[in-house]
């Protein structure tokens, strides 16, 4: 092998990356012009990189896709500390003669998954809307943790608050002080 060819092979990797200093680069370029063998090594080296970059050796099996998504959904439901708070779940406050009535939409949520705390002026509700386990083909229902503070128009009697969850609606009765 000629000296020039050896030199070229030594620098070939950095040559194709274009990271050599201009003098060496120009020298190698000149050599390529006269040496078809080195030229084809450079070409095939570039092609090698392209091939390995582009190749997909394996299609992702559907079963792996499904178990990945299932695992992620599980993570999302159980470990997510992220909390929905703005406008979720939908609520309304109605003033009655002696009390305020707060209605909160919680379809599908179980009683044991809801927490309520009250102070004189604020009702706080938090909890989780749990997903059903399984492989989803259609998924439009929003599952998440939620937390919401509802300010009350005037002070209430925290000792006499009553709540019940029925038909997907949480009704909280907060007697005025």
């Amino acid at each position: 092998m000629k000296m020039e060819c050896e030199k070229f092979l030594f620098w070939i990797s950095e040559y194709i990356d274009g990271s050599l200093n201009p003098e060496i680069h120009a020298e190698l370029e000149k050599h390529l012009g006269v040496c078809p063998r080195c030229k084809s090594i450079a070409n095939t080296l570039k092609a090698t990189i392209t091939l390995f970059h582009d190749v997909e050796f394996c299609k992702l099996p559907a079963s792996i896709h499904q178990s990945l998504h299932q695992a992620l959904r599980y993570e999302w439901e159980t470990h997510k500390v992220k909390v929905k708070s703005w406008g979720y779940p939908p609520a309304e406050t109605i003033e009655e003669k002696t009390a305020f009535l707060v209605l909160i939409q919680l379809p599908g949520v179980k009683k044991e998954d809801v927490n309520l705390t009250v102070t004189k002026h604020v009702l706080k509700i938090s909890g989780i809307n749990r997903a059903t386990a399984g492989i989803y083909y259609l998924n439009e229902i929003n599952y998440s943790r939620f937390s919401r503070k509802i300010e009350l128009p005037q002070a209430i009697d925290t000792a006499k608050v009553e709540a019940c969850l029925e038909n997907g609606i949480l009704r909280v009765k907060l007697p005025k002080l």
Partner: protein, 188 residues
């Protein structure tokens, strides 16, 4: 329909939209799986890395500051997961110093149109075998630099080796793989 950008999906996912996160997973799961396979040479390990990658990404999503693109970020997580697997030591290491990396005397130029070459099943098999036969030290550098597109500096940092070591390993890995492909294309 206009394709929603990764950036938008990231925003939505951060804003508790699980479907947006799932869409990001759909976009990159196959690429991550293949990256892991190239790095580890085993479908079983690639599957583990795939799962680890997206669960880690999901947990770290809030902290993702979006200085890089989502794809770069996710490949970075996948790479770290691959390197951890390699460090667990289940993968055999071949002493690469002993391996000869030569270039054949005659050189056939088969470099035309790589994308149509990839349709050859037999070639893909040769490539699969070739990359698997690379020693870990060379393969990881090759995958980081030429498949993931990291710089020498980035690869060196990730692997905890010098830039000179990255350059020399990359050089050897590339020549080795080229040689294997040239064997395949050699006229018989």
């Amino acid at each position: 329909m206009l394709k929603v950008s990764d950036k938008t999906l990231v925003k939505q996912a951060k804003n508790h939209d699980f479907k947006a996160f799932e869409e990001l997973v759909n976009r990159y799961e196959s690429k991550v799986y293949n990256l892991a396979y190239k790095m580890l040479g085993s479908r079983e390990d690639a599957k583990d890395v795939l799962q680890d990658t997206f669960i880690s990404a999901f947990k770290a999503l809030d902290g993702f500051r979006e200085k890089s693109s989502f794809s770069t970020w996710i490949y970075r997580i996948a790479t770290n997961s691959c390197l951890m697997k390699l460090r667990e030591g289940k993968h055999k290491t071949i002493s690469l110093e002993d391996k000869e990396f030569t270039v054949a005397k005659e050189a056939v130029d088969w470099s035309e149109d790589p994308s149509s070459l990839l349709e050859r099943k037999e070639l893909r098999k040769v490539m699969d075998k070739a990359i698997k036969s690379l020693p870990n030290m060379l393969r990881t550098v090759f995958v980081l630099r030429d498949i993931e597109g990291l710089s020498n500096q980035e690869a060196a940092k990730m692997l905890g080796v010098s830039i000179a070591a990255v350059k020399s390993r990359l050089h050897r890995a590339r020549l080795y793989l080229r040689e294997k492909l040239s064997d395949y294309f050699k006229p018989t």
